[in-house]
Protein backbone atom coordinates (compact mmCIF):
# COMPACT_ATOMS: atom_id res chain seq x y z
CA UNK A 1 0.00 0.00 0.00
CA UNK A 2 2.89 2.34 0.75
CA UNK A 3 4.16 1.81 -2.75
CA UNK A 4 0.75 2.75 -4.10
CA UNK A 5 0.53 6.00 -2.16
CA UNK A 6 3.87 6.89 -3.71
CA UNK A 7 2.37 6.20 -7.15
CA UNK A 8 -0.61 8.44 -6.37
CA UNK A 9 1.80 11.16 -5.30
CA UNK A 10 3.77 10.85 -8.56
CA UNK A 11 0.53 10.93 -10.59
CA UNK A 12 -0.61 14.12 -8.88
CA UNK A 13 2.78 15.77 -9.47
CA UNK A 14 2.65 14.75 -13.15
CA UNK A 15 -0.89 16.08 -13.45
CA UNK A 16 0.16 19.44 -12.01
CA UNK A 17 3.27 19.57 -14.19
CA UNK A 18 1.39 18.92 -17.41
CA UNK A 19 -1.36 21.33 -16.42
CA UNK A 20 1.22 24.07 -16.08
CA UNK A 21 2.80 23.02 -19.36
CA UNK A 22 -0.63 23.20 -21.01
CA UNK A 23 -1.24 26.67 -19.58
CA UNK A 24 2.10 28.30 -20.26
CA UNK A 25 3.26 26.81 -23.51
CA UNK A 26 1.56 26.78 -26.87
CA UNK A 27 1.50 28.44 -30.26
CA UNK A 28 1.14 31.86 -28.55
CA UNK A 29 4.21 32.68 -26.46
CA UNK A 30 3.77 34.58 -23.20
CA UNK A 31 -0.02 34.35 -23.21
CA UNK A 32 -2.12 37.02 -21.55
CA UNK A 33 -4.51 36.17 -18.73
CA UNK A 34 -7.35 36.52 -21.12
CA UNK A 35 -6.04 33.71 -23.32
CA UNK A 36 -5.22 31.53 -20.33
CA UNK A 37 -8.70 31.89 -18.85
CA UNK A 38 -10.78 31.58 -21.98
CA UNK A 39 -8.71 29.16 -24.09
CA UNK A 40 -6.29 27.16 -21.99
CA UNK A 41 -7.96 26.70 -18.63
CA UNK A 42 -11.03 25.04 -20.19
CA UNK A 43 -8.66 22.61 -21.93
CA UNK A 44 -7.35 21.46 -18.58
CA UNK A 45 -10.81 20.99 -17.13
CA UNK A 46 -11.84 19.12 -20.29
CA UNK A 47 -8.75 16.91 -20.10
CA UNK A 48 -9.65 16.09 -16.50
CA UNK A 49 -13.25 15.20 -17.32
CA UNK A 50 -12.57 13.26 -20.52
CA UNK A 51 -9.41 11.54 -19.34
CA UNK A 52 -11.16 10.43 -16.18
CA UNK A 53 -14.33 9.30 -17.94
CA UNK A 54 -12.57 7.27 -20.61
CA UNK A 55 -9.99 5.71 -18.29
CA UNK A 56 -12.41 4.64 -15.56
CA UNK A 57 -14.91 3.40 -18.17
CA UNK A 58 -12.15 1.29 -19.68
CA UNK A 59 -11.21 -0.02 -16.25
CA UNK A 60 -14.78 -1.00 -15.49
CA UNK A 61 -15.37 -2.69 -18.87
CA UNK A 62 -12.10 -4.61 -18.62
CA UNK A 63 -13.07 -5.93 -15.20
CA UNK A 64 -16.70 -6.75 -15.84
CA UNK A 65 -15.84 -8.77 -18.95
CA UNK A 66 -12.53 -10.11 -17.59
CA UNK A 67 -11.17 -8.81 -20.87
CA UNK A 68 -8.10 -6.58 -20.96
CA UNK A 69 -8.62 -5.63 -24.62
CA UNK A 70 -11.85 -3.71 -24.29
CA UNK A 71 -12.54 0.00 -23.76
CA UNK A 72 -15.22 2.58 -24.68
CA UNK A 73 -13.69 2.98 -28.15
CA UNK A 74 -13.25 -0.70 -29.07
CA UNK A 75 -16.64 -1.64 -27.62
CA UNK A 76 -18.07 0.93 -30.11
CA UNK A 77 -19.68 3.04 -27.35
CA UNK A 78 -17.81 6.10 -28.67
CA UNK A 79 -18.93 5.60 -32.26
CA UNK A 80 -22.49 5.09 -30.99
CA UNK A 81 -22.31 8.36 -29.08
CA UNK A 82 -21.02 10.10 -32.22
CA UNK A 83 -24.09 8.86 -34.09
CA UNK A 84 -26.25 10.12 -31.27
CA UNK A 85 -24.74 13.57 -31.73
CA UNK A 86 -25.11 13.54 -35.52
CA UNK A 87 -28.77 12.54 -35.28
CA UNK A 88 -29.45 15.03 -32.49
CA UNK A 89 -28.07 17.87 -34.63
CA UNK A 90 -29.99 16.59 -37.66
CA UNK A 91 -33.24 16.76 -35.75
CA UNK A 92 -32.27 19.91 -33.86
CA UNK A 93 -31.95 18.55 -30.33
CA UNK A 94 -29.12 19.11 -27.84
CA UNK A 95 -26.26 16.63 -28.14
CA UNK A 96 -26.01 14.91 -24.80
CA UNK A 97 -29.26 12.91 -24.42
CA UNK A 98 -28.97 11.43 -27.91
CA UNK A 99 -25.32 10.63 -27.31
CA UNK A 100 -26.17 8.77 -24.08
CA UNK A 101 -28.91 6.73 -25.72
CA UNK A 102 -26.86 5.70 -28.75
CA UNK A 103 -23.72 5.02 -26.77
CA UNK A 104 -25.72 2.68 -24.53
CA UNK A 105 -27.42 1.06 -27.52
CA UNK A 106 -24.17 0.26 -29.29
CA UNK A 107 -22.56 -1.07 -26.08
CA UNK A 108 -25.54 -3.31 -25.59
CA UNK A 109 -25.68 -4.33 -29.21
CA UNK A 110 -22.01 -5.27 -29.51
CA UNK A 111 -22.37 -7.29 -26.31
CA UNK A 112 -25.44 -9.07 -27.65
CA UNK A 113 -23.88 -10.04 -30.96
CA UNK A 114 -20.85 -11.41 -29.13
CA UNK A 115 -23.03 -13.74 -27.06
CA UNK A 116 -23.63 -17.32 -27.97
CA UNK A 117 -25.73 -19.43 -25.64
CA UNK A 118 -25.78 -16.54 -23.15
CA UNK A 119 -21.99 -16.49 -22.86
CA UNK A 120 -19.41 -14.30 -24.46
CA UNK A 121 -15.66 -14.79 -24.76
CA UNK A 122 -13.03 -12.05 -24.72
CA UNK A 123 -12.18 -12.63 -28.37
CA UNK A 124 -15.80 -12.58 -29.55
CA UNK A 125 -16.47 -9.42 -27.56
CA UNK A 126 -13.54 -7.59 -29.12
CA UNK A 127 -14.44 -8.80 -32.60
CA UNK A 128 -18.07 -7.75 -32.18
CA UNK A 129 -17.00 -4.33 -30.89
CA UNK A 130 -14.46 -3.78 -33.65
CA UNK A 131 -16.97 -4.86 -36.31
CA UNK A 132 -19.72 -2.59 -35.08
CA UNK A 133 -17.23 0.22 -34.61
CA UNK A 134 -15.99 -0.08 -38.20
CA UNK A 135 -19.56 -0.21 -39.48
CA UNK A 136 -20.61 2.90 -37.55
CA UNK A 137 -17.50 4.77 -38.67
CA UNK A 138 -18.18 3.84 -42.29
CA UNK A 139 -21.70 5.20 -41.91
CA UNK A 140 -20.27 8.41 -40.49
CA UNK A 141 -18.06 8.83 -43.56
CA UNK A 142 -21.00 8.24 -45.90
CA UNK A 143 -23.06 10.72 -43.95
CA UNK A 144 -20.45 13.44 -44.22
CA UNK A 145 -19.85 12.80 -47.91
CA UNK A 146 -23.55 13.25 -48.51
CA UNK A 147 -24.11 16.31 -46.32
CA UNK A 148 -20.61 17.72 -46.16
CA UNK A 149 -21.58 21.37 -46.49
CA UNK A 150 -23.84 21.49 -43.47
CA UNK A 151 -21.83 19.24 -41.20
CA UNK A 152 -18.21 19.90 -42.09
CA UNK A 153 -17.52 21.46 -38.67
CA UNK A 154 -18.93 18.42 -36.95
CA UNK A 155 -16.59 16.10 -38.85
CA UNK A 156 -13.54 17.87 -37.46
CA UNK A 157 -15.10 17.95 -34.04
CA UNK A 158 -15.55 14.18 -34.09
CA UNK A 159 -11.85 13.55 -34.69
CA UNK A 160 -11.20 14.78 -31.18
CA UNK A 161 -10.25 18.13 -29.69
CA UNK A 162 -10.34 20.06 -26.45
CA UNK A 163 -11.82 23.24 -27.89
CA UNK A 164 -15.16 23.32 -26.09
CA UNK A 165 -15.54 26.62 -24.25
CA UNK A 166 -19.18 26.55 -23.15
CA UNK A 167 -18.76 26.66 -19.36
CA UNK A 168 -22.36 25.68 -18.78
CA UNK A 169 -21.92 22.43 -20.70
CA UNK A 170 -18.53 21.82 -19.09
CA UNK A 171 -20.01 22.40 -15.64
CA UNK A 172 -22.91 20.00 -16.19
CA UNK A 173 -20.56 17.38 -17.61
CA UNK A 174 -18.24 17.81 -14.63
CA UNK A 175 -21.06 17.16 -12.16
CA UNK A 176 -22.38 14.12 -14.05
CA UNK A 177 -18.87 12.73 -14.35
CA UNK A 178 -18.27 13.03 -10.61
CA UNK A 179 -21.49 11.08 -10.07
CA UNK A 180 -20.31 8.41 -12.51
CA UNK A 181 -16.92 8.21 -10.85
CA UNK A 182 -18.38 7.54 -7.42
CA UNK A 183 -20.85 5.05 -8.83
CA UNK A 184 -18.02 3.01 -10.33
CA UNK A 185 -15.85 3.46 -7.25
CA UNK A 186 -18.65 2.11 -5.10
CA UNK A 187 -18.74 -1.00 -7.31
CA UNK A 188 -14.98 -1.57 -7.18
CA UNK A 189 -15.13 -4.74 -5.06
CA UNK A 190 -17.85 -6.18 -7.25
CA UNK A 191 -15.68 -5.49 -10.26
CA UNK A 192 -12.73 -7.30 -8.64
CA UNK A 193 -14.87 -10.34 -8.01
CA UNK A 194 -16.57 -10.53 -11.40
CA UNK A 195 -13.17 -10.44 -13.10
CA UNK A 196 -12.76 -14.01 -11.77
CA UNK A 197 -15.75 -15.07 -13.85
CA UNK A 198 -19.52 -14.75 -13.71
CA UNK A 199 -20.00 -18.09 -11.92
CA UNK A 200 -17.70 -17.06 -9.10
CA UNK A 201 -19.43 -13.71 -8.90
CA UNK A 202 -22.92 -15.24 -8.71
CA UNK A 203 -21.95 -17.71 -5.98
CA UNK A 204 -20.40 -14.87 -3.98
CA UNK A 205 -23.77 -13.14 -4.03
CA UNK A 206 -23.17 -10.59 -6.78
CA UNK A 207 -25.57 -10.81 -9.72
CA UNK A 208 -23.57 -10.61 -12.95
CA UNK A 209 -26.58 -9.40 -14.94
CA UNK A 210 -27.32 -6.59 -12.54
CA UNK A 211 -23.68 -5.53 -12.35
CA UNK A 212 -23.30 -5.55 -16.14
CA UNK A 213 -26.40 -3.39 -16.50
CA UNK A 214 -25.07 -0.84 -14.01
CA UNK A 215 -21.68 -0.75 -15.74
CA UNK A 216 -23.34 -0.31 -19.15
CA UNK A 217 -25.39 2.62 -17.90
CA UNK A 218 -22.48 4.40 -16.26
CA UNK A 219 -20.02 3.69 -19.10
CA UNK A 220 -22.63 4.77 -21.65
CA UNK A 221 -23.16 8.03 -19.77
CA UNK A 222 -19.47 8.79 -19.23
CA UNK A 223 -18.58 7.95 -22.84
CA UNK A 224 -21.43 10.07 -24.18
CA UNK A 225 -20.25 13.03 -22.08
CA UNK A 226 -16.72 12.62 -23.43
CA UNK A 227 -17.80 12.39 -27.04
CA UNK A 228 -20.19 15.32 -26.87
CA UNK A 229 -17.50 17.50 -25.29
CA UNK A 230 -14.57 16.48 -27.40
CA UNK A 231 -15.33 13.97 -30.14
CA UNK A 232 -14.01 10.43 -30.42
CA UNK A 233 -10.78 9.86 -28.55
CA UNK A 234 -9.60 6.26 -28.60
CA UNK A 235 -7.17 4.16 -26.60
CA UNK A 236 -7.01 6.30 -23.44
CA UNK A 237 -9.50 3.91 -21.83
CA UNK A 238 -7.51 0.92 -23.01
CA UNK A 239 -3.96 1.71 -22.05
CA UNK A 240 -4.39 3.71 -18.84
CA UNK A 241 -5.66 0.86 -16.65
CA UNK A 242 -2.98 -1.44 -18.07
CA UNK A 243 -0.07 0.82 -17.33
CA UNK A 244 -1.40 1.30 -13.80
CA UNK A 245 -2.07 -2.39 -13.11
CA UNK A 246 1.54 -3.14 -14.04
CA UNK A 247 2.70 -0.71 -11.35
CA UNK A 248 0.17 -1.08 -8.58
CA UNK A 249 -1.67 -4.40 -8.72
CA UNK A 250 -5.23 -4.93 -9.80
CA UNK A 251 -7.64 -3.94 -7.01
CA UNK A 252 -10.15 -1.57 -8.50
CA UNK A 253 -10.32 0.42 -5.27
CA UNK A 254 -6.84 1.63 -6.19
CA UNK A 255 -7.03 1.42 -9.97
CA UNK A 256 -10.21 3.46 -10.48
CA UNK A 257 -8.94 6.63 -8.75
CA UNK A 258 -5.48 6.12 -10.24
CA UNK A 259 -7.03 5.72 -13.71
CA UNK A 260 -8.83 9.04 -13.23
CA UNK A 261 -5.47 10.75 -12.67
CA UNK A 262 -3.63 8.69 -15.29
CA UNK A 263 -6.25 9.25 -17.99
CA UNK A 264 -6.20 12.99 -17.34
CA UNK A 265 -2.41 13.06 -17.62
CA UNK A 266 -2.45 11.05 -20.83
CA UNK A 267 -5.00 13.42 -22.33
CA UNK A 268 -3.04 16.52 -21.29
CA UNK A 269 0.12 15.09 -22.84
CA UNK A 270 -1.70 14.14 -26.04
CA UNK A 271 -3.34 17.54 -26.30
CA UNK A 272 -0.04 19.28 -25.72
CA UNK A 273 1.50 17.21 -28.51
CA UNK A 274 -1.50 17.82 -30.76
CA UNK A 275 -1.15 21.56 -30.40
CA UNK A 276 2.62 21.88 -30.50
CA UNK A 277 4.03 19.21 -32.82
CA UNK A 278 2.79 20.85 -36.03
CA UNK A 279 2.02 24.34 -34.68
CA UNK A 280 0.29 26.52 -35.70
CA UNK A 281 -1.67 23.60 -37.19
CA UNK A 282 -3.54 21.65 -34.49
CA UNK A 283 -3.64 17.88 -34.97
CA UNK A 284 -6.89 16.07 -34.16
CA UNK A 285 -6.58 14.72 -30.64
CA UNK A 286 -8.03 11.33 -31.54
CA UNK A 287 -5.25 10.92 -34.09
CA UNK A 288 -2.56 11.59 -31.48
CA UNK A 289 -4.01 9.15 -28.93
CA UNK A 290 -4.33 6.54 -31.68
CA UNK A 291 -0.68 7.03 -32.64
CA UNK A 292 0.27 6.51 -29.01
CA UNK A 293 -2.23 3.72 -28.39
CA UNK A 294 -2.08 1.47 -31.44
CA UNK A 295 1.46 0.16 -30.86
CA UNK A 296 0.53 -0.56 -27.26
CA UNK A 297 -2.65 -2.38 -28.29
CA UNK A 298 -0.70 -4.56 -30.72
CA UNK A 299 1.80 -5.32 -27.99
CA UNK A 300 -1.04 -6.40 -25.68
CA UNK A 301 -2.64 -8.49 -28.39
CA UNK A 302 0.61 -10.38 -28.89
CA UNK A 303 1.15 -10.86 -25.18
CA UNK A 304 -2.42 -12.14 -24.87
CA UNK A 305 -1.84 -15.27 -27.00
Amino acid sequence: MKKNSRIFFVLIILLLFFSFLEIYTGPIKNPEWNIILTLRLPRIVLALIIGTNLAISGTALQSVFANPLIDPYISSASAGAAWGIILSRWFGFTDLPGAVVFSLLSLFFSYQISRKNFRTTPTRLVLAGVTLNTFLNALIVIFFLTYHRDFYQLLFFLFGNLNETDWQLIGLSFLLSIGGFFWLYRLSKHLDIISLGEDKSATLGISPENLKLQIFVVVGLLTAISVSLSGIIGFVGLITPHLLRMQMGSTNRQIIPAAALGGSILLLVSDWLARNVAAPQELPLGVVTALLGVPYFLYLLRKQQ
Binding site: L204, I206, S250
Partner: protein, 249 residues
Protein backbone atom coordinates in the same frame (compact mmCIF):
# COMPACT_ATOMS: atom_id res chain seq x y z
CA UNK B 1 -29.42 -32.87 4.01
CA UNK B 2 -29.60 -32.01 0.30
CA UNK B 3 -32.49 -33.43 -1.67
CA UNK B 4 -32.65 -33.34 -5.43
CA UNK B 5 -36.14 -34.01 -6.79
CA UNK B 6 -36.85 -34.81 -10.44
CA UNK B 7 -34.11 -32.64 -11.85
CA UNK B 8 -33.99 -32.23 -15.62
CA UNK B 9 -31.60 -30.08 -17.58
CA UNK B 10 -31.23 -29.68 -21.31
CA UNK B 11 -29.03 -27.39 -23.35
CA UNK B 12 -29.38 -26.53 -27.03
CA UNK B 13 -32.20 -29.05 -27.30
CA UNK B 14 -30.01 -31.85 -25.95
CA UNK B 15 -30.81 -33.56 -22.66
CA UNK B 16 -27.84 -33.39 -20.31
CA UNK B 17 -29.47 -34.56 -17.10
CA UNK B 18 -32.64 -36.60 -16.86
CA UNK B 19 -34.79 -37.30 -13.85
CA UNK B 20 -32.11 -36.99 -11.21
CA UNK B 21 -33.30 -37.94 -7.73
CA UNK B 22 -30.68 -37.82 -5.03
CA UNK B 23 -30.28 -37.54 -1.29
CA UNK B 24 -26.89 -36.19 -0.39
CA UNK B 25 -25.99 -36.48 3.28
CA UNK B 26 -23.33 -34.49 5.05
CA UNK B 27 -19.73 -35.50 4.60
CA UNK B 28 -17.71 -35.85 1.44
CA UNK B 29 -19.50 -36.84 -1.76
CA UNK B 30 -17.75 -37.52 -5.03
CA UNK B 31 -19.59 -37.17 -8.34
CA UNK B 32 -18.09 -39.60 -10.80
CA UNK B 33 -18.75 -40.35 -14.42
CA UNK B 34 -17.24 -40.50 -17.84
CA UNK B 35 -16.29 -37.33 -19.69
CA UNK B 36 -19.51 -35.63 -20.70
CA UNK B 37 -21.64 -37.57 -18.23
CA UNK B 38 -22.97 -34.31 -16.77
CA UNK B 39 -20.87 -34.03 -13.61
CA UNK B 40 -20.13 -30.34 -13.99
CA UNK B 41 -23.70 -29.65 -15.07
CA UNK B 42 -25.06 -31.31 -11.94
CA UNK B 43 -22.67 -29.30 -9.78
CA UNK B 44 -23.70 -26.09 -11.53
CA UNK B 45 -27.35 -26.93 -10.96
CA UNK B 46 -26.56 -27.41 -7.27
CA UNK B 47 -24.82 -24.02 -7.30
CA UNK B 48 -27.96 -22.51 -8.93
CA UNK B 49 -25.96 -21.35 -11.94
CA UNK B 50 -28.18 -23.08 -14.48
CA UNK B 51 -31.91 -23.00 -15.06
CA UNK B 52 -33.00 -26.56 -14.39
CA UNK B 53 -36.45 -27.94 -13.87
CA UNK B 54 -37.15 -29.78 -10.67
CA UNK B 55 -36.23 -28.92 -7.12
CA UNK B 56 -33.13 -28.85 -4.99
CA UNK B 57 -33.85 -28.63 -1.28
CA UNK B 58 -31.44 -27.92 1.54
CA UNK B 59 -33.00 -28.47 4.98
CA UNK B 60 -36.43 -27.97 3.36
CA UNK B 61 -35.28 -24.69 1.75
CA UNK B 62 -35.89 -24.57 -1.97
CA UNK B 63 -32.56 -23.23 -3.20
CA UNK B 64 -34.08 -21.97 -6.45
CA UNK B 65 -36.15 -19.45 -4.53
CA UNK B 66 -33.31 -17.88 -2.56
CA UNK B 67 -31.66 -14.60 -3.51
CA UNK B 68 -28.00 -14.75 -4.56
CA UNK B 69 -27.04 -13.01 -1.33
CA UNK B 70 -28.72 -15.63 0.84
CA UNK B 71 -27.41 -18.40 -1.35
CA UNK B 72 -23.84 -17.15 -0.90
CA UNK B 73 -24.16 -17.89 2.81
CA UNK B 74 -25.31 -21.44 2.15
CA UNK B 75 -23.09 -22.61 -0.65
CA UNK B 76 -19.70 -21.87 -2.10
CA UNK B 77 -18.48 -23.02 -5.48
CA UNK B 78 -15.12 -23.55 -7.09
CA UNK B 79 -15.35 -23.58 -10.90
CA UNK B 80 -13.08 -25.96 -12.78
CA UNK B 81 -9.95 -24.29 -14.08
CA UNK B 82 -10.58 -20.99 -12.36
CA UNK B 83 -7.94 -18.37 -13.09
CA UNK B 84 -7.49 -14.66 -12.65
CA UNK B 85 -6.65 -12.67 -15.72
CA UNK B 86 -5.50 -9.77 -13.53
CA UNK B 87 -2.69 -10.01 -11.05
CA UNK B 88 -4.36 -9.67 -7.66
CA UNK B 89 -2.28 -10.57 -4.64
CA UNK B 90 -2.97 -13.89 -2.93
CA UNK B 91 -4.33 -11.97 0.03
CA UNK B 92 -6.79 -10.08 -2.17
CA UNK B 93 -7.96 -13.25 -3.91
CA UNK B 94 -8.67 -15.00 -0.63
CA UNK B 95 -10.35 -11.92 0.80
CA UNK B 96 -12.87 -11.99 -2.07
CA UNK B 97 -14.16 -15.26 -0.65
CA UNK B 98 -15.13 -13.40 2.50
CA UNK B 99 -17.28 -10.92 0.62
CA UNK B 100 -20.65 -12.49 1.54
CA UNK B 101 -19.91 -12.46 5.26
CA UNK B 102 -17.40 -9.72 5.93
CA UNK B 103 -17.72 -7.53 2.82
CA UNK B 104 -14.09 -8.63 2.47
CA UNK B 105 -12.62 -5.93 4.57
CA UNK B 106 -12.30 -8.13 7.63
CA UNK B 107 -9.18 -9.99 8.64
CA UNK B 108 -8.44 -13.16 6.76
CA UNK B 109 -9.31 -16.35 8.56
CA UNK B 110 -6.00 -17.48 9.99
CA UNK B 111 -7.05 -21.10 10.45
CA UNK B 112 -7.70 -21.55 6.73
CA UNK B 113 -4.43 -19.83 5.79
CA UNK B 114 -2.59 -22.15 8.16
CA UNK B 115 -4.31 -25.25 6.87
CA UNK B 116 -3.46 -24.38 3.29
CA UNK B 117 0.01 -23.22 4.25
CA UNK B 118 -0.44 -19.97 2.35
CA UNK B 119 1.04 -17.45 4.77
CA UNK B 120 4.32 -17.29 2.90
CA UNK B 121 2.52 -16.35 -0.33
CA UNK B 122 0.13 -13.69 0.91
CA UNK B 123 1.68 -10.70 -0.84
CA UNK B 124 2.70 -12.50 -4.01
CA UNK B 125 0.81 -11.68 -7.25
CA UNK B 126 -1.36 -14.71 -7.99
CA UNK B 127 0.01 -15.25 -11.48
CA UNK B 128 3.55 -15.65 -10.24
CA UNK B 129 2.58 -18.87 -8.44
CA UNK B 130 2.70 -22.33 -9.98
CA UNK B 131 -0.60 -23.74 -11.21
CA UNK B 132 -0.82 -26.08 -8.21
CA UNK B 133 -0.19 -23.28 -5.75
CA UNK B 134 -2.77 -21.17 -7.55
CA UNK B 135 -5.34 -23.92 -7.25
CA UNK B 136 -4.67 -24.04 -3.50
CA UNK B 137 -5.30 -20.28 -3.30
CA UNK B 138 -8.66 -20.60 -5.07
CA UNK B 139 -9.57 -23.54 -2.83
CA UNK B 140 -8.76 -21.38 0.20
CA UNK B 141 -10.91 -18.62 -1.30
CA UNK B 142 -13.80 -21.07 -1.50
CA UNK B 143 -13.31 -22.37 2.03
CA UNK B 144 -13.13 -18.95 3.71
CA UNK B 145 -16.67 -18.36 2.49
CA UNK B 146 -17.50 -20.68 5.37
CA UNK B 147 -20.68 -22.23 3.99
CA UNK B 148 -22.37 -25.51 4.97
CA UNK B 149 -22.34 -26.68 1.33
CA UNK B 150 -19.05 -26.60 -0.55
CA UNK B 151 -19.12 -27.47 -4.26
CA UNK B 152 -15.81 -28.18 -5.94
CA UNK B 153 -15.55 -28.81 -9.67
CA UNK B 154 -12.49 -30.97 -10.28
CA UNK B 155 -10.69 -29.51 -7.29
CA UNK B 156 -7.61 -31.68 -7.74
CA UNK B 157 -6.81 -30.29 -11.18
CA UNK B 158 -3.20 -29.12 -11.19
CA UNK B 159 -2.55 -30.71 -7.78
CA UNK B 160 0.16 -33.31 -7.27
CA UNK B 161 -0.34 -36.28 -4.99
CA UNK B 162 0.73 -34.26 -1.93
CA UNK B 163 -1.54 -31.38 -2.82
CA UNK B 164 -4.42 -33.81 -3.26
CA UNK B 165 -3.82 -35.41 0.12
CA UNK B 166 -3.47 -32.02 1.75
CA UNK B 167 -6.80 -30.91 0.27
CA UNK B 168 -8.63 -33.96 1.58
CA UNK B 169 -6.99 -33.79 4.98
CA UNK B 170 -8.19 -30.17 5.22
CA UNK B 171 -11.68 -31.26 4.23
CA UNK B 172 -11.60 -34.00 6.87
CA UNK B 173 -10.44 -31.54 9.49
CA UNK B 174 -13.29 -29.17 8.60
CA UNK B 175 -15.69 -32.09 8.78
CA UNK B 176 -14.54 -32.83 12.31
CA UNK B 177 -15.05 -29.22 13.37
CA UNK B 178 -18.43 -28.95 11.65
CA UNK B 179 -20.02 -32.36 11.19
CA UNK B 180 -22.91 -30.82 9.24
CA UNK B 181 -21.01 -29.60 6.19
CA UNK B 182 -21.39 -31.28 2.81
CA UNK B 183 -18.45 -31.18 0.48
CA UNK B 184 -19.42 -32.28 -3.02
CA UNK B 185 -16.75 -32.61 -5.68
CA UNK B 186 -16.54 -33.91 -9.22
CA UNK B 187 -13.76 -36.12 -10.47
CA UNK B 188 -13.11 -38.56 -13.27
CA UNK B 189 -10.56 -40.28 -11.11
CA UNK B 190 -11.99 -43.37 -9.44
CA UNK B 191 -9.03 -43.72 -7.07
CA UNK B 192 -9.65 -40.27 -5.75
CA UNK B 193 -13.27 -41.06 -5.03
CA UNK B 194 -12.49 -44.38 -3.35
CA UNK B 195 -9.70 -42.92 -1.26
CA UNK B 196 -11.34 -39.82 -0.01
CA UNK B 197 -15.12 -39.81 -0.22
CA UNK B 198 -17.78 -41.00 2.20
CA UNK B 199 -20.29 -41.38 -0.61
CA UNK B 200 -20.20 -41.37 -4.31
CA UNK B 201 -22.64 -40.72 -7.09
CA UNK B 202 -22.01 -42.29 -10.46
CA UNK B 203 -23.54 -40.52 -13.44
CA UNK B 204 -24.03 -42.44 -16.62
CA UNK B 205 -26.10 -41.64 -19.69
CA UNK B 206 -27.73 -38.53 -18.26
CA UNK B 207 -28.83 -40.12 -15.02
CA UNK B 208 -27.66 -41.53 -11.72
CA UNK B 209 -26.44 -45.09 -12.17
CA UNK B 210 -25.31 -45.63 -8.62
CA UNK B 211 -25.33 -43.80 -5.32
CA UNK B 212 -23.94 -44.86 -1.98
CA UNK B 213 -20.90 -45.71 0.01
CA UNK B 214 -17.87 -47.24 -1.66
CA UNK B 215 -18.38 -50.17 0.72
CA UNK B 216 -21.62 -51.03 -1.04
CA UNK B 217 -19.78 -51.74 -4.27
CA UNK B 218 -16.46 -53.08 -3.11
CA UNK B 219 -15.79 -55.35 -0.17
CA UNK B 220 -14.34 -53.52 2.81
CA UNK B 221 -11.33 -55.81 2.83
CA UNK B 222 -10.59 -54.88 -0.76
CA UNK B 223 -11.13 -51.18 -0.06
CA UNK B 224 -8.77 -51.27 2.89
CA UNK B 225 -6.20 -52.97 0.74
CA UNK B 226 -6.68 -50.39 -1.96
CA UNK B 227 -6.33 -47.48 0.40
CA UNK B 228 -3.31 -49.00 2.05
CA UNK B 229 -1.76 -49.53 -1.33
CA UNK B 230 -2.18 -45.88 -2.15
CA UNK B 231 -0.53 -44.86 1.07
CA UNK B 232 2.35 -47.18 0.34
CA UNK B 233 2.82 -45.65 -3.09
CA UNK B 234 3.07 -42.26 -1.51
CA UNK B 235 5.44 -43.42 1.21
CA UNK B 236 7.59 -45.02 -1.45
CA UNK B 237 7.66 -41.81 -3.46
CA UNK B 238 8.64 -39.80 -0.44
CA UNK B 239 11.36 -42.25 0.28
CA UNK B 240 12.65 -41.87 -3.25
CA UNK B 241 12.68 -38.10 -2.93
CA UNK B 242 14.63 -38.31 0.30
CA UNK B 243 17.29 -40.12 -1.66
CA UNK B 244 16.53 -43.55 -0.23
CA UNK B 245 17.37 -46.39 -2.58
CA UNK B 246 15.10 -48.92 -0.85
CA UNK B 247 12.66 -50.71 -3.05
CA UNK B 248 9.21 -49.22 -3.37
CA UNK B 249 7.22 -51.87 -1.59
Amino acid sequence: MIKIKDLYFSYDGKDILQKINLDISSGITAILGKNGAGKTTLLKCLAQLLRYSGEILYRELNLKKLSLKKLAKILSYLPADIASIYDFSVKEIIAMGMYPTARYSGKLRQDILLMFDLKKFLDRPINTLSSGERQMVFLAQTFVQDTPIILLDEPTNHLDIWGRNKLFSIVNQLKKEKPDISVIFTTHNIEEALNHSDNFVFLHEQSVRFQGKPENVFSSAWLNDFRQHNQEIQAGLENLLKGGQDNVS
